[in-house]
C-alpha cells in the first residue's frame, strides 16, 4: 500500500479534508488515544492543538504513560510534561518509550528512583547504561543491566569486572556478552550453573567446547551448543543422563548416525526428540513408526522427513492426535487428506480444513460440516468460495467469523459485513484486512470501540498526515511497527 495513492487536486483536497476531520474528532474525543494515533503524523502546529487533549488531564497522562501501543513521539513529549513520580515510573516501564524519553527522565533527576527501570529498558541509550554499569551501587540496578537485551558487550564487561557472584549467571545469559567476558567469568567461578550457561552461549569460546564436563548440567548445555564438535556430541548422545541424551539428540549438529541408538532409548522423551529430527532417515523413521508412545508417533507424523508410506500407516492410528498430525504433514498426499477429511473425529477433519493445498472436492465436503473447528478451518482456507465465506461470515460462532476475517482472500463485500460484527476484536482485525478499501475504513471512524477507532485513526494518520509529517518515510515504517520482536535470551 502506498502512502499517497493519488496526487490529483481533488484527491489532495479530500485527504486534507479527512485529515482535518480526524483532528477535530480526536480533539473532541472523550479518550486520548485517537489523538495519540494522529500525533506522530501531525505538523508542529497541529501537535500543539492536540496536546491539550492528550496531556491536559493527569488521568490521561497516566493512561498514555503506560500504553505500550502508542507511538514513541507521544511518549517523548509526555516525558517532558510529566509532573509526578508515578507518571515517570510508568514511562520508564513502558516498552515503547524511546531513547529520548528515557534520557529526559534520566536528566530530570530521577536517577536514583528510576535507575533499576532505566537499567532494564532496552531503549535506554548506551551512554546511560555505561554510566549505570560503572557507578550503580545497588544490586537491583546491576541485575537489570545484566538482564537488559539492549546492554552492549562493553557495559556487560564493565559489570563483570566488579566480580559480584550473584551477577555471573545473568551475565552468562545475556546475548551481548562477548567471548572475552565469558572466558573471564569461566575463570572466575567453578559454579556449575554459571559454567553451564557459558557453554550454552553463542559467543562461548571454542576452547571451552572441546572437553566433556563432569556435571550433567554442563554436559546438557554443551550438548545443545551448535559449535560443539561432532565427536563430542556423539558421546553425549549416549550419556548416562536422560536430559543430556535428549539435548544431544535434538542438536542438528549431532550426526544422525550417532542417534540411531536413541530410537530405542528407554526414555520416551529422547525418542520423541529423534522423531522430530529433520534429517531422519527412512529406516529410522520406520523404527519409530510403531513406537508405544503415541507422542513419538505424533511427532514423526508431522516431521517432513517422514515418508509417505509411513503416513499411510499413521493415518489409521487409533490415537486421533496422530491422525491429526498426518493431516498437518507438509507433504501429506491428496488421497490421505481425502480419507482424513472423513475421519470420525472432527478435530482431525479440522486439521485437514486448514490446508491451503486441499482438493476442492474435499474442501466442499468439509464446508458441509456443522463443527465449528472444521468450519473455522474452511473459513480460513484461501480456496473457499465466496458464497461459502458469505455464509460463514454470519455464523453464530465468533471463531468461525474470525477465521473469515483472517482469510486474506476474503473479498471486500464480505468484509463490509464483518465490519459491523458485534465483537470489537473482529472489527479491529477487519480494519487491517488488505481487501478492505479506505472508503470502507473511513466509515469506521465513529466506531464505538476505542481500540477499533485507534486502529482507524492510526491507519489514516499514516496515510493522510504525510504532508504534515517531517519524519522520513523509512522512519515512518519503523513507527508503524514500534515493537519489533526482540531476541529471546536462552536459559538453561
Amino acid at each position: 500500500m502506498t502512502r499517497s495513492p493519488s496526487s490529483s487536486p481533488r484527491s489532495v483536497a479530500a485527504s486534507q479534508r479527512h485529515w482535518l476531520e480526524l483532528l477535530r474528532r480526536a480533539r473532541a474525543s472523550d479518550e486520548p488515544f485517537s489523538a495519540a494515533a494522529l500525533y506522530p503524523h501531525a505538523s508542529e502546529q497541529q501537535r500543539r492543538c492536540l496536546e491539550p487533549r492528550l496531556f491536559g488531564a493527569r488521568r490521561d497522562r497516566l493512561l498514555l504513560a503506560s500504553a505500550a501501543f502508542v507511538a514513541p513521539a507521544v511518549l517523548e513529549r509526555l516525558a517532558c510534561l510529566v509532573d509526578d513520580a508515578t507518571q515517570r515510573t510508568r514511562i520508564a516501564r513502558n516498552p515503547a518509550a524511546p531513547a529520548e524519553a528515557l534520557t529526559r527522565l534520566w536528566c530530570d533527576g530521577a536517577r536514583t528512583s528510576l535507575a533499576p527501570l532505566l537499567a532494564r529498558h532496552p531503549n535506554t541509550p548506551r551512554a546511560i547504561l555505561a554510566e549505570l554499569g560503572e557507578a550503580a551501587a545497588d544490586l537491583d540496578t546491576l541485575c537489570a543491566l545484566c538482564e537488559n537485551t539492549g546492554s552492549s558487550s562493553d557495559v556487560l564487561a564493565t559489570v563483570e569486572q566488579r566480580r559480584i557472584p550473584v551477577l555471573q549467571r545473568l551475565l552468562a545469559v545475556n546475548l551481548a556478552t562477548d567471548g572475552a567476558t565469558l572466558m573471564a567469568l569461566w575463570r572466575a567461578t567453578d559454579e556449575e550453573a554459571v559454567r553451564a550457561q557459558i557453554l550454552l552461549h553463542d559467543h562461548c569460546p571454542d576452547t571451552l567446547l572441546q572437553t566433556l564436563p563432569a556435571s550433567p548440567l554442563e554436559r546438557r548445555c554443551l550438548a545443545r551448543h551448535a559449535r560443539t564438535p561432532a565427536a563430542l556430541l556423539a558421546r553425549l548422545a549416549g550419556d548416562a543422563d536422560v536430559a543430556v541424551r535428549r539435548a544431544a539428540t535434538a542438536n542438528p549438529a549431532t550426526p544422525i548416525a550417532a542417534v540411531v541408538a536413541s530410537c530405542f532409548d528407554t526414555d520416551e522423551a529422547v525418542r520423541r526428540t529423534v522423531a522430530a529430527r529433520r534429517d531422519l532417515s527412512v529406516t529410522l523413521a520406520a523404527c519409530l513408526a510403531d513406537d508405544v508412545d503415541d507422542w513419538v508417533r505424533r511427532v514423526l507424523a508431522r516431521n517432513p522427513a517422514c515418508p509417505t508410506y509411513l503416513l499411510e500407516r499413521a493415518s489409521a492410528d487409533p490415537v486421533l492426535e496422530v491422525r491429526r498430525s498426518v493431516a498437518r504433514h507438509p507433504a501429506c498426499p491428496a488421497s490421505l487428506l481425502d480419507r482424513l477429511s472423513r475421519d470420525a473425529a472432527t478435530w482431525v477433519q479440522a486439521a485437514v480444513a486448514y490446508r491451503d493445498d486441499l482438493p476442492l472436492v474435499v474442501l466442499r465436503r468439509l464446508a458441509r460440516s456443522t463443527d465449528v473447528d472444521v468450519l473455522a478451518g474452511v473459513g480460513r482456507n484461501p480456496m473457499t468460495s465466496t458464497s461459502r465465506l458469505a455464509r460463514l461470515a454470519v455464523h453464530e460462532c465468533a471463531d468461525v467469523r474470525r477465521a473469515v476475517i483472517l482469510n486474506r482472500q476474503t473479498p471486500r463485500a464480505i468484509l463490509r459485513v464483518l465490519r459491523q460484527d458485534p465483537y470489537p476484536l473482529h472489527r479491529a482485525l477487519a480494519v487491517d484486512h488488505p481487501n478492505l478499501t479506505d472508503a470502507d475504513r473511513w466509515r469506521m471512524r465513529e466506531d464505538p470501540d476505542v481500540q477499533v477507532r485507534y486502529r482507524v485513526f492510526h491507519h489514516f494518520a499514516w496515510r493522510l498526515g504525510a504532508a504534515a509529517d517531517p519524519v522520513p518515510a523509512d522512519a515512518m515504517q519503523h513507527e508503524h511497527h514500534p515493537h519489533p520482536a526482540q531476541e529471546k535470551m536462552e536459559t538453561i
Binding site: 488521568r59 497516566l62 503506560s66 508515578t86 515510573t89 544490586l139 559454579e191 465483537y423 464505538p448
Partner: protein
C-alpha cells in the same frame, strides 16, 4: 411481565496507584471503569427469557445506583436489548455501602414491582456479595444466591434454580416468584452489543430518579442507611518475603542461612 436487572459500574486498577488525600479510597485518576462482569450474565439471562418461548411480553429493566458516569454502563445494557434503564442518584448516596445501595434498589423494586430480580453474585471491585441478598431481605422476597442455572416459564409462579455450592456440588431449588436471584458467571454466554444497538442506545432516555422520589425516608439514605463506613484504605506494608537471587547453589546456601537464623543457630 417484568424483570429487574440491577447492575454496577465497577473500577479496576493498574499496577501502580495512589490513595486519595482523605485516605478512604483510591485516587479516581487511577480508576478504569467498566460494567461488572457478573452483570453481563444477569442481563443475558433476562434477555434469554425475553427472547425465548413465551417471552414476548417480558420487559427487561436495568437499574443502577451511581453518578452520571454510570450512564455508560446502562447504555451498554440498552444496546444489548434492555427495554428501559433507570439510574438513581443524589449526592447523599456518595457514602453508601452495599446495604445502603440495597435500600435504594429495594425502594426502586417496590415502585417497579418486577416478577423477577436478577443481580450479580458480587461486584468485582468491592466484592461485598451482599447487595442482591440484602435487597431480597428488605423486600421480604424469596431468594437464591449463586445461581448457575435457571428454568423459568414466563408468567410462572415458580422457578427451578441450580445453586452452586462448595466442593463442586449443586443444589436444585424450587423457588416461588417474585424472587431475587444472584447469578453466577458461566450461567450463559453474554452477547456483544451490535453496532446498530449501540447507536440506538445512545439516543435512548435514561430515567433519572433520586431517593426522595422513591419515597425513601432520610434516615435510610446514604451513610445514614448504611451499616458500615470505610475508615481507611491502604496498601499493607510489604511482608518479609524476599526473592533469593543467584545460582541454585547460591540460593540453597542463602536459604540454609535463613533457616539457621530462624533456629537461632547463626
Amino acid at each position: 411481565m417484568k424483570i429487574l436487572v440491577t447492575i454496577k459500574q465497577v473500577s479496576s486498577l493498574d499496577e501502580d496507584f495512589e490513595i486519595r488525600e482523605d485516605g478512604r479510597d483510591v485516587d479516581p485518576d487511577f480508576l478504569l471503569h467498566d460494567l461488572n462482569e457478573w452483570d453481563n450474565y444477569s442481563l443475558e439471562e433476562a434477555m434469554r427469557l425475553k427472547e425465548g418461548p413465551g417471552g414476548d411480553g417480558i420487559e427487561v429493566v436495568v437499574a443502577t445506583v451511581g453518578p452520571d458516569s454510570t450512564d455508560e454502563e446502562l447504555r451498554k445494557c440498552l444496546a444489548k436489548g434492555a427495554d428501559r434503564a433507570i439510574r438513581v442518584w443524589s449526592d447523599e448516596l456518595e457514602e453508601c455501602d452495599a446495604i445502603g445501595v440495597s435500600r435504594v434498589l429495594a425502594a426502586l423494586a417496590r415502585k417497579e414491582a418486577p416478577d423477577l430480580i436478577f443481580a450479580g453474585v458480587q461486584a468485582s471491585d468491592h466484592a461485598f456479595g451482599a447487595t442482591g441478598m440484602a435487597m431480597a431481605g428488605l423486600l421480604g422476597l424469596p431468594h437464591a444466591a449463586v445461581v448457575a442455572a435457571l428454568e423459568y416459564e414466563p408468567g410462572g409462579k415458580t422457578a427451578m434454580v441450580r445453586r452452586e455450592l462448595e466442593g463442586g456440588t449443586y443444589a436444585s431449588v424450587r423457588i416461588d416468584c417474585p424472587a431475587v436471584l444472584t447469578l453466577q458467571l458461566g450461567i450463559n454466554t453474554p452477547r456483544y452489543a451490535s453496532l446498530r444497538g449501540i447507536k440506538q442506545a445512545a439516543q435512548r432516555p435514561i430515567e433519572l430518579l433520586d431517593p426522595a422520589s422513591l419515597g425513601m425516608p432520610s434516615d435510610e439514605i446514604g451513610a445514614a442507611g448504611s451499616l458500615s463506613r470505610v475508615r481507611r484504605m491502604y496498601v499493607p506494608e510489604k511482608g518479609r518475603a524476599q526473592m533469593i537471587a543467584g545460582t541454585p547453589a547460591e540460593q540453597a546456601a542463602r536459604l540454609a542461612q535463613i533457616i539457621k537464623e530462624f533456629r537461632g543457630e547463626a
